[in-house]
Amino acid sequence: MALSALNAAWLIARKDLTIEFRTRTAFLSALVFALMAIVIFYFSWDPTAIPAGDLAPGVMWVIFTFSGLLGLHRSFGIEQQDRAIDGLLGAPVAREAIYLGKALANLVFVVGIQMVAIPAVALFYNVSVISVAPALAAIALLAAVGLVAVGTLFGSMAVNTRLAELLLPVLSLPFFVPVVVPAAQATAKLLNGRPIAEVDGWLRLLGAFDIVFVTVCMLAFPYTIEE
């Protein structure tokens, strides 16, 4: 009896998260990178020249973008060791389900980084995020979906190349821009105390990008994974 695509995706995501939970290689690397970046930005910051509310959103989204890449690279890296990917490709599951499973695990990874990094940024830059927490969480989640949708696709393409570590950011970053720009803009407005109604447009834009990116990347995925 063949598995439904959603069940297969959930199974693959759970497997990836179990492996990451046991090895913690990518998450710890991403976390160390995130905290290092926060500290470096903090010590190079002149609070008298730039208000915290203007700098913190940029710091946040630089961190999410680059630390997310570490997890995205690892996602298909674990499949290449001992050609475990052949086990997935040989199973009677739709290629799209493999993409969804990988993307779901990557989403949990990026959201995990965000859950540590957002409070850390708030602490270092002394910005209040509690009052805008639901809206900020919505921005972070919507942007994470977009980043992961694109990054998972390019991760599968890059992993078979000799310069995978270089190729993944080169391919992904231009496609991250439409997600990171509205996310950073919306975050800046929230942290500067603007009303939530002002970020509504950015949220809709992020939602639209997510729908387009998830759909296009899921449809393109089978062509990148099959030899």
Binding site: M1, A2, L3, A8, L11, K15, T18, I19, R22, T23, I78, Q81, D82, R83, A84, D86, G87, L88, L89, G90, A91, P92, V93, A94, E226, E227
Partner: protein, 235 residues
Amino acid sequence: MTAIEAHGLTRAFGRRMAVDGVDLSIASGDCMAIFGPNGAGKTTLLRLLGGLLKPSAGTATIGGVRIPSGDEGRGAVGVIAHATMLYGALSGRENVEFAARLHGVRNYRDAATAALDKMHVLDRASAPVRALSRGMQQRVAIARAIVHAPSVILLDEPFTGLDYAGASALTVLLGTLRVGGAALVLVTHNIAEGLAIATHASIMREGRFARSEKRASIDADRYQSEYRELVSHGT
């Protein structure tokens, strides 16, 4: 009943033809051993039959289902390859259960236990795969490949890394699977090993079958020398 059928199966990598117009037909319960030198196209042929590679031309069907397009066709195949296809951070049991669940096996726990037991690796099943020796990993990989009771099993040098006990367990297992109606395709360099299991034997060279015959008509000693001559002639 025909389990595997291929017509004009071809796969090119750039300008090199790894598999060049192969025709084959294997019935349920048969085992075809494929011999050949390195680079003959044996592994590529197995990957094509397993739906892991797309053919450049030609067609292949597993149980009447065309591959690689049909999920159903892939589900009927078990692949044992050079690489173990296992996740090092997961235990042997977790790897086998994961494969069983991907193949939609209902009682995946029982199926995994049975498969691991057949390969005499049940007592080490809870250890992470990366902590196992190469031979034990190969046993787990074989358990992973058979856990969903496939009707077609593709074996690429399956005895690699196995000790005597592991090789014996595999030989017994393959015999049982054949009797149960599974069709086997075995790629190996070891002619004695291959002929011990096979019902049909083929020699592959430069992407094509240079000769194919029934095992019953083969004299093992003469076949070895003829194989060496055929292979050295082509190099």
